[in-house]
Assembly symmetry: none
Homo-oligomer: 533 residues x 2
Amino acid sequence: MPQVQLYDTTLRDGAQQEGISFSVADKLKIAKRLDELGMHFIEGGWPGANPKDTEFFIKAHDLNFKHSVLVAFGSTKHPDSKVDKDANLRALVEARAKVVTIVGKSWGLQVTQILEISLEDNLSIISESVGYLKSKGLTVFFDAEHFFDGYKANPDYALQTIEAASKSGADCVVLCDTNGGALPSEVATAIEAVRRATAVPLGIHAHNDAELAVANSLTAVQAGVVQVQGTINGYGERCGNANLCSIIPALKLKLGIDCISDEQLAKLTEVSHYVDELANLAPASHLPYVGASAFSHKAGLHVSGLMKWEESYQHINPELVGNRPKVVVSELSGKGNIIYKARELGVALPPKGKQARQILEQIKLLESRGFQYEGADASFELLLHRAQPEYKPPFELIDFMVLVERHRRLPAHGSESELLSEATVKVKIGDRVIHTAAEGNGPVNALDQALRKALLEFYPDLTEVELVDYKVRILEESAGTASQVRVLIESSNGQEQWRTVGSSTNIIEASWLALADSMEYWLMRQRETGKVI
Amino acid sequence: MPQVQLYDTTLRDGAQQEGISFSVADKLKIAKRLDELGMHFIEGGWPGANPKDTEFFIKAHDLNFKHSVLVAFGSTKHPDSKVDKDANLRALVEARAKVVTIVGKSWGLQVTQILEISLEDNLSIISESVGYLKSKGLTVFFDAEHFFDGYKANPDYALQTIEAASKSGADCVVLCDTNGGALPSEVATAIEAVRRATAVPLGIHAHNDAELAVANSLTAVQAGVVQVQGTINGYGERCGNANLCSIIPALKLKLGIDCISDEQLAKLTEVSHYVDELANLAPASHLPYVGASAFSHKAGLHVSGLMKWEESYQHINPELVGNRPKVVVSELSGKGNIIYKARELGVALPPKGKQARQILEQIKLLESRGFQYEGADASFELLLHRAQPEYKPPFELIDFMVLVERHRRLPAHGSESELLSEATVKVKIGDRVIHTAAEGNGPVNALDQALRKALLEFYPDLTEVELVDYKVRILEESAGTASQVRVLIESSNGQEQWRTVGSSTNIIEASWLALADSMEYWLMRQRETGKVI
């Protein structure tokens, strides 16, 4: 098998998925990870189409990719504009990416019915657009939109569009299954015909509307294409794009195509989850290769099989993609987990004693009230410490109050309204009760500021602690505004990160509990190192 | 193409999915729907393996299927037991299903390493088990476990297991990709070899561990199998089983195999959502064919195409599977989306005028501030109405205030603390300014109560409006507690649901905006029907 180039379009076509809206900062972070994963091309967006994408291309030049090449996406020129005056093509050139991909039409009916121009004019548009970009010294990929539908309807014309791009210098022609309805057998037949007609390197861009995007991409590789376009986790409009997290391991582990290194492949699960996090999507547990359940085994036949022979019920070794097997554990083994976890954290629990069982009962009770410790290691560690009779908390929460008020400004100040968020807190440190107040940018920020203010007098090093992430999840969603709310907070002192959890039907109280845990955890750690008493 | 039989294993293999636990009543309800959908075989479970499944088979006989045949599942006999004394085989006979499916091993390594018996003994076990069940007058399907892995490792032995089942009278031999790792090309090659070796009718049972289960099932049909096993929505252990909701429409609409009637196919989306409901899973919106987003259109290009020609950006007509197209409005939209959507909502926008462009600009501005209209149709409709010069809002927000306070109770009341959430609102209705207050279960609930109280005097029917869902999303997560927050609210009047959005750096203000939109939307709809002025 020849080498295959991976082309990621998570930041452009993936971002079309309903509910996904990446900020420029998100896109830059994701691009960095994709580079580390060894993606050959990263499509950053459509410069000129929206201000966010233009800004991304300005900033992306500072990323200094190690492996990847940045690609700007756009379309062929507008039928009415001259090629050197076309706003879209100019924006592509101005994006200063070395590679540009332009999409053009390969389905005759799309040309006459949607573009409403003649088939000949469409061929000229393709030739002129590719030629113009080539004349600017760029590497040019041509996305042949609706190629497979076009090939079924009118094979001659579909091939002419490929030929037009190829003769004008396109470096790769990417065959797109834009509506996502092609079958693998149709993909194989059409690609064979293209390869007979032209020598230009080919790529595949598949959508998942028939749940066949991964199969169509792999079939295309087996039929001779050298570029595969797709997205992390299969993000994309409607049913998504071809999922690179399933394609990459299949290429490497099943077809023997060394598209990325073993070390890079071992980062796949991590990258998948990272991108989900920035997209604010809970990672889908059933995703092939990277899902938390991808290598899960229920008790019984499979588990005893697995113990005898690792590969008996696994199609690959999960470690190769950075995942791991998961044996669904019974409630009895829960105590073992607590002891194991406590040992990991350096808290000694007597293995025979009642303590581990008591902690397990407490966790079950708290989890039934909406707490969850899987994502909140620091709160879990505090819980272990609080179970020790000698533990003394660095502070005690007494009361808090939060006030959010919106007032219309006086007419002299315009019609904008003013928003005030203020919090008061009462905490006990040693024998002293501190009662103080602060304003903030929103109620939780105000609480954060007030609690810090109260503690800073005693623990001045607390200034180094920062909140870096704040997540809210609504449990029992059907209960409307009276639902149970879980808040997860991530904090940092510049070197380390820790996560805490709070839960309540009141979002302010849930936040307050997670905030307080965050500070208590840091103070407890300081105390262990002798920095505070 | 020959006829293909559909074999549903949602109730057995599908129920292995983590988190799914069907009651007997659920299973009976689902079986009834599967019968209406025209499934040829419905596998009800493993009688004898657990009491629920035994009970199901007792009750299932009263279902009086119109189209389907009930199937009982089990395994070949235990190596140590005599075939006519084997508990598992006897439970199969006692289930009184006319068809039984038994699973046996086709991979040599599984036989020697997991069963720990000789290859010859395994062949006898298969022959004896199939022969015994045939002697009881049953139709017998043989599931050849790990067939494709076995064929790769030792093709001769894998074929011998098929031959053992076939010679003993098996009515169909089902080739299983138990670990879900086979490629379509491997499936095609192996099936060709089996067909050269034996004339027994073949089936396919694929798992989705490489995201190829649908492709492998369709490839198998093209290679000549006559039975396809799968589950509704692709339920199943790990990454799931082959998804019948994607396979059935592909067979019927793409391969021209008339496995169910047109009327039955039109129930597919409904059945998919119904089964999700009984499994207590939110229907996945991106599912091919049946997902709410399967025919959604967000990109401006696509929507303007859709308006000219319905099939331009859809691989099938969604009505054929009981689904429908959905146009999504977002910052990536063009003017076309706005006009199309406005028309759907019954708001006339002049297609050539500036209004659609102005609304689009406003949406882009609001989206850059964190609003998002994809999931908030009602807020979008309000935005359209507010752009009309003659629109008069039913009320105007002036100010609000929210107070959340936690006070320790007096010692006499125990050490528990008390939480108070209170809101005041000031709204203008006509010439009157209403200033009122309410308590609630959390700050947003308090705001909701206060706003209702203010409006109820003028709009008493508002009591029928209920908040049914409240979602919070944090944007720009790295900014900690000062992040931008988006709130999505779903409301209902018992018959209809509508969704509204609010965004702010302050969660209370974001909630307030979404709440106010919810009520304004309902009042606007009431006004349109003449119920309020």
